[in-house]
Amino acid sequence: MSAHGTSIAHEEAHHHGHHDDHHDDHHHEDNFWTKYVFSQDHKMIAKQFLITAVFMGVVAMLLSIFFRLQLAWPGQGFAISEFFLGKKWAPDGVLDANMYLALVTIHGTLMVFFVLTGGLSGTFSNLLIPLQLGARDMASGFLNMLSYWFFAASSLIMFLSLFIETGPASAGWTIYPPLSALEEAIPGSGLGMTMWLISMALFVAGSLLGSINYIVTVINLRTKGMKMTRMPLTIWAFFITAILGVLSFPVLLSAVLLLIFDRSFGTSFYLSDIFIGGQALEQTGGSPVLYEHLFWFLGHPEVYIVLLPALGITSEVISTMSRKPIFGYRAMVGSILAIGFLSFIVWGHHMFITGMNPFLGSVFVFTTLLIAIPSAVKAFNYLTTLWKGNLIFSPAMLFAIGLVSTFVTGGVTGIILADSALDINVHDTYFVVAHFHIVMGASAIFGMFCGVYHWFPRLFGRMMNNRLGYFHFWVTFISVFGVFFPMHFLGMAGVPRRYYSNEAIDLFAGMNDINVLITFFAIAGALAQLVFLYNFFYSIFRGKQASQNPWNSNTLEWTAPVKHLHGNWPGALPVVHRWPYDYSKPGKEKDFVPQTVPLDPGEEDH
């Protein structure tokens, strides 16, 4: 971070090639507010997203520990629960049943939206889109700043909802009405749900501002020679992710708005024939199934909004650290496009047994299972990239390999859930919890860690400690399978998710040894994150100084100086002559050829 960064007028950032003289422009000192808080610089905004997401991730993880303790030892008191949740929600350290549902709800919401959507896409789209494309900044720095501040406001409201008297939203992260619409049904559907809805509305606004910016930047601000077919896979993933976000998040907003109407203004979009709290409600004619359709029309693309950036990041890292071109670049791009397209026509697989017409269910079975094809292509292409490589195990590389394992291990169980006949029996059981935590949760968070370790030198100009990174990876990786693999067995035994305790039902009461094992790994995994947090914050200030291109990488972000400056490159923008994956190309002296190196006479572009 430069103490006296050179500023350029942002509108000028659009005109490539006219920048040789920008040093003559108005020099001015950034003050604290313009530099760290109301920054319009994509690199600073990336850091803001990342730090916010790390905070939300810590909260979300801590919440999960409280409910894991309850699940393993139901009814027992834990000092740590009482310390954090207080006497009201954990009297004598025993978690309250309503608070249990609230914790589950907020854990899911924070992880899915704030860590893996805002955090993952927000951080790395912001950091890498301009840097890897050779742009001075995002198309609109101002919109970009707004996008973060909507995200920050939404994070704040969601976080504060944990502290109100009636408790935060507790209807599950999918907030199906009528449970989420009626305060009489559960206390968390009072003020807590109002805050949840306001927070999500702001989140959607922020996400749209960000996504539109990403799309425009990718289309318009590529540097000379950066054809679409020469873009790194990270950019392809962020680009398609942004398009998915723009198309699906407004639908979530509409679902949220209609729910606000039902809750506050007496409409009946989702409510019909309800008798609660001793009286019959006036509303008739609405349908909760409508909400489910609207929610999952976002909800399913959301899975890929979370996953695609992780796949993009790991494609890039696996190629770089294997010192090999990514295998099947075009097939990888094609898979991203196919997954993105299909993700819009599969939402009904969340609704096989909601009373939706079974024939419609069949259609969704078909479209859903089609997604397995591009996913399989991606997995096999990863494997072939590793084959006969020269693998350097940086912590980022370890997380990338971890992602391939979780992506496949969690992905195959999706085949069972997509099969409507099988879904009858495992729907809403721990089988689902196991499936999506491994394929989406673990894979995406691995992608995020991978990105943090790999681009830490680009973000903060310093290196993270590798050995701590190894410890962090191995304990996290083992814990992920230790936590989520046994859940398949619970699910196939019929144990429903979101149960405060399994003791009440004889059929499930005998299986608690599994829950003890899961909680043991959950705590181990949580402790490993402390090592990461330490490494992360320590390295920001005290880490080893980074060299310009520490991983010997081909992409453009490593041609910019280590010290951040407005406009990214001090002189002219780099010009691109080749694709980003010329690693170990025969006939070249070094095992990498940066994108800025012109083709030799007679040399073929990939």
Binding site: K324, F327, A331, W387, N466, P496
Partner: protein
Amino acid sequence: MQSFLIYSAIILGIIAFARVIKVYELANALRGNKDEQVTDSDNKFNAKMMLAFVIAFFAFCIYQIIAYGKYVLPESASEHGVDIDNLMNFNLIIITIVFVLVNIILFWFAFKYYFRKGNRATYFAHSTKLELIWTIVPAIVLAVIIIYGLMTWNKIMTPVPENEAVVIELYAKQFDWTARYAGDDKKLGNTNYKLISDVNPLALDTTDSHSLDDKLVRGEFHIPVGKRVLFKFRSRDVIHSAYMPHFRAQMNCVPGMETQFHFVPTITTAEMRTKLGKPEFDYILVCNKICGQTHYNMQMKIVVESESQYNTWLASQPKFKADPQPAASDSLKTVKNSVAPVQPVSLW
């Protein structure tokens, strides 16, 4: 004082940890690993860990199959349940093969190809043939999975006419179930949610003569073995889900609409008790959609018995009009959480 000591210990611990790391880093710098970000020994260590991991991972999976396999898929007690289990096993075999192969290949490659100085990776950017293979082979396997799956699904979900089945209504509310059987007229009466009251908990329309002889049952409900049972589901307040794990049956109960599911039970409760060697065994209906505070304890016992036993039991149940208080056999568990349910008015 105690918490002050705890906080101090944590802070001192972090500082000590930071010092140790710093010393370690300085020592490394002195040894001269300046240029490389990742040392040879790091690469070797992680390569070995990859191999160790995959072995331990599969050992862990096998351990779980041995230790927890007994819980999985309790014997199915319905006709279509057997079809679902066959389909499940078919799918499980396919995905286990993929899971094992891919993980072995992944970690084997990671172990085998770790960085060695002087080695150079093979420049292998694409191969149309390979990519076609792993597009087409999964496509064929998935086609089989889709066709087999949809055949089973259609068989299960094809509606049955009401006169060919025993019709039972399951009514969900926070946090219990009520079953409703038709009386001698074999027809369930109409309902209107505005009529709910202490004496009319299921909102039966008393002007409809069909509802007068309906029978409301709580605590446990009975179904005849070998007969098709058609369930109709309603909900009073929020979405619930009627999940009967032994029968591989599940359907959401949605306020404002009626949903249905049908199956043929094949094993009576008594037979299942003998089979399992558990005299206290009972089939259950549980709620499987988050519905509020005591969601985890919203259950009802199911008794499967011979048709004649079933008829005798049903005949002994009081009619709605004759006796508004249904005979609730009190097998409901007491709620373990001492906090009272949220709902201010208890209607039962």
